[in-house]
Amino acid sequence: MNALMFGWEFPPHILGGLGTASYGLTKGMSKQGDMNITFVIPHPHGDEDQSFLHIIGANNVPIVWKENSWDHVNSRIGKTMHPDEYFQLRDNIRYDFRRIGTDELGCVNFSGVYPKNLMEEISNYEAVASVVAHKGGFDIIHSHDWLTYPAGIFAKHISGKPLVIHVHATDFDRSRGNVNPQVYDIERRGMDEADHIICVSNLTRQTVIEKYGQNPAKVSTVHNAVEPLADRDSFQKTPRKDKVVTFLGRITMQKGPEYFVEAAYRVLQKTRNVRFVMAGSGDMMNQMIHLAAARNIADKFHFTGFLRGKDVTEMLSESDVYIMPSVSEPFGISPLEAMQVGTPTIVSKQSGCAEILDNAIKIDYWDIDAMADAIHAIVSYPAMYKSLHEMGEDEVNRITWEAAGRKVRAIYNKVLGWN
């Protein structure tokens, strides 16, 4: 089976969870053997792992016919695309996109991030999709997140192949209810046009059904998974006197940082051998620094600033408790990453990952008492730490992308009527 996927990010150059999920899912699906995936992203860097799929950089796809020699094309984009493919794609330009600004190859220069002119990039991406769709050679189209829905729809209309969209988040999660009408419109149109909708959690599925008015029959949940950690043994906890409780993520309203500070205050009323760490940065960071000071716990409450790469895993493995009190989280992969290094984890019930985790403590994000109680229990009762430490790691190692990939494949088969 050949699938054409539209995405926005792909490791190693990622900005959020979307890239990680795209990578994991495609890799998991490739294990099925007969699955050929073509993955379109706006701006590849050439160091992406292409061993299990074929990546097309949208910034290498010509949308306006320009005459160029093979050697010139090779020197310009040879790093990320074979010139033959460029010429094949050029043969499939059917529409006049000269209104769009292109370079001498007839390609659009995508930023590949989330720029100010995001809406413009989304529609340019749509133009690229038309060229790729005309080239054909796929049975099904799969769009990851709202940025790529318009591209998926256009490709569907051109090719007549079914469209599956993958909802990694909705604007309701990002905005706590104050949705951007333009974004909502794109999301809604994508869902209406899709033949099937895949959501990363039942929580998101519920949002899609209720807030976007979708028929429940065409909305399925496929929970995310986590890539196994290759160098697990290099992360070991150093014994220290004080227990460390960690919050890690963007310090913003959606992640519920203020509940973490309040819970820390409760815990410190009774126990003194605990330290709290807020790792990350965000628009509410200064507010949190003030709050910690106002609660008079600043001596036990630490800020690390933004962490990346290996530092994240190190921080997680050095912690005694990892906590994610998100107000609304479509899935939330970081609790799974914490459990991979054996760190007991507390997640809010408003997080999608809570649906698949047994050996994690689940609390309502607003329930500061329960949160404090759970933190206290993990740092005070050794059996609690030990059980979550061992059984949590065990459990998370059983959650694989391969299984998620099989579910997606079953959906493809259903949509295509193949069996």
């Binding site: 403590i361 009762y381 059984m391």
Partner: protein, 460 residues
């Protein structure tokens, strides 16, 4: 003549309330009264009362030929007295027919048999007293918490004066032996009655299961199975949680009608009913049944893994039973009461992670997860341990404490004794004046060091 011996276990723990760690040291009341009243009322209305009515009717209609045994935990009896006293009355009525036997068990439906012999004995004695005072019957046969049994527990039971004990007819201890016999304890005088797992589960778990190939289970089918026992097999012990009548099998399933039809079908097939004591009196078998490892009636494994199978349960049990000796020394009624209720085996069952991952059956009772059950229990236990520690600090070891307590408790009687002596000596003063002189200062001096000791202990 084949016989069937029915027994039912009845227990309901005191539900613990949501107890956060910042309440440790400030709040010493641990129970969710509303939930307790609610669940006891629910059990009384849906199970105990209708089931008792059914059994009473059966006994009366058969002129006492239908017989049954009950094992009711002390913790439940206390709750019934408080929330549903009519259930106690209906049990009295049943006992008065003479066809009902009451079995012994640890008062708190605890795991004490595994952790603390003295505690176990104290609880069994207390339970027997409770049964005697309520129903005027002394338990002669023992039915331990969840049928937990091992050779060692059998020895305790025998020392407590019981003639027999019920145990699970677990395949791994019976081997080729049949469950439909009585057996002997390897080295003490105790008759063992294995429960027939298959026949018990047929009623308890499969009666309302539409997927079972024998569904629907009818009384004549059931009695036929009993009557079809091999030659030489005369008894079949069938036991279950009383909830099988009206809770696990809802009244609509026809469970009460099934029971009502049993005596008639039994009469046709010449099967009669016996109490455990009668089975023991008639038993002729001298075969020995032995198990070093404790067994129970739980799950497929028939072992203890449901109560102490993981680290959470291990820590909770270890912390709890570490203070048992100290709690037995104390006289504070509130502490004694909490001590019993915290021992109920259900508290540990809720912490079981055995069925947790990916299983649909919830074993966590009122809690959302085993972890939550553990957190709540440990918070309460921490407060309890603090209270015990305040009374008897852990810095003094048990023996020292014991001797100090003896001195304090005997203080009064010793003073009285010495005063009497003084009086006696004073009376005899005139004939022997010299004797009085050394006695007086001795008597006066005596209470002083004792008081100092008393002060010392309370301060610590």
């Amino acid at each position: 003549m084949k016989s069937i011996c029915f027994f039912f276990q009845l227990h309901q723990p005191l539900r613990l309330k949501r107890y956060r760690f910042f309440e440790i040291g400030t709040d010493h009341y641990y129970y969710n009264d509303f939930a307790n009243e609610d669940s006891v009322r629910y059990l009384a209305d849906n199970c105990y009362l209708p089931a008792n009515r059914t059994l009473l009717e059966m006994i009366q209609n058969t002129n006492g030929k239908f017989k049954v045994a009950f094992s009711i935990s002390g913790v439940l009896l206390e709750q019934l007295e408080q929330y549903a006293p009519e259930v106690i009355d209906s049990f009295k009525e049943l006992v008065d027919t003479g066809s009902v036997e009451l079995l012994g068990e640890p008062y708190a439906h605890s795991l004490s048999a595994l952790y603390d012999e003295n505690e176990f004995k104290a609880q069994v004695k207390r339970h027997s007293q409770k049964i005697e005072s309520l129903f005027g019957q002394t338990p002669k046969v023992f039915c331990n918490t969840e049928l937990i049994y091992s050779d060692e527990i059998g020895e305790y039971i025998s020392k407590l004066g019981f003639k027999g004990a019920l145990l699970e007819g677990a395949r791994h201890i019976l081997g080729w032996k049949s469950a439909n016999y009585t057996y002997k304890h390897p080295y003490v005088d105790l008759t063992l009655l294995p429960r027939n797992t298959e026949m018990s589960d047929n009623i308890a778990f499969r009666f309302s299961n539409w997927g079972w190939d024998q569904y629907p289970l009818t009384a004549d089918k059931y009695i036929n199975w009993v009557a079809d026992m091999k030659d030489g097999e005369d008894f079949m012990v069938v036991g279950m949680n009383y909830g099988a009548l009206g809770i696990n099998n809802h009244a609509d399933s026809g469970i009460f009608e099934f029971f009502k039809a049993l005596p008639y079908q039994a009469m046709i097939k010449k099967v009669n009913f016996m109490t455990p004591s009668e089975v023991i009196a008639k038993s002729k078998n001298d075969d020995v049944l032995t198990t070093g490892e404790p067994i129970s009636w739980a799950d497929e494994e028939k072992d203890l893994s449901a109560w102490n199978g993981n680290d959470l349960q291990g820590e909770a049990l270890q912390k709890l039973y570490a203070v048992s000796e100290r709690v037995r020394l104390c006289t504070d009624r509130a502490i004694k009461y909490d001590w019993l209720n915290l021992q109920a085996c259900d508290n540990f069952y809720y912490m079981s992670t055995k069925h947790f991952a990916g299983n649909t059956i919830a074993h966590t009772g009122p809690y959302e997860s085993p972890y939550e059950a553990f957190m709540n229990y440990m918070n309460i236990l921490s407060d309890f341990l603090q209270r015990v520690d305040e009374q008897y600090p852990t810095t003094i070891d048990n023996e020292e404490l014991n001797s100090l307590l003896k001195t304090i408790n005997n203080q009064e009687s010793q003073i009285v004794e010495l005063e009497e002596e003084i009086a006696k000596l004073k009376a005899g003063k005139k004939p022997a004046k010299a004797k009085e002189e050394p006695a007086a200062p001795k008597a006066k001096a005596e209470p002083k060091p004792k008081k100092a000791v008393a002060k010392k202990t309370t301060k610590k």
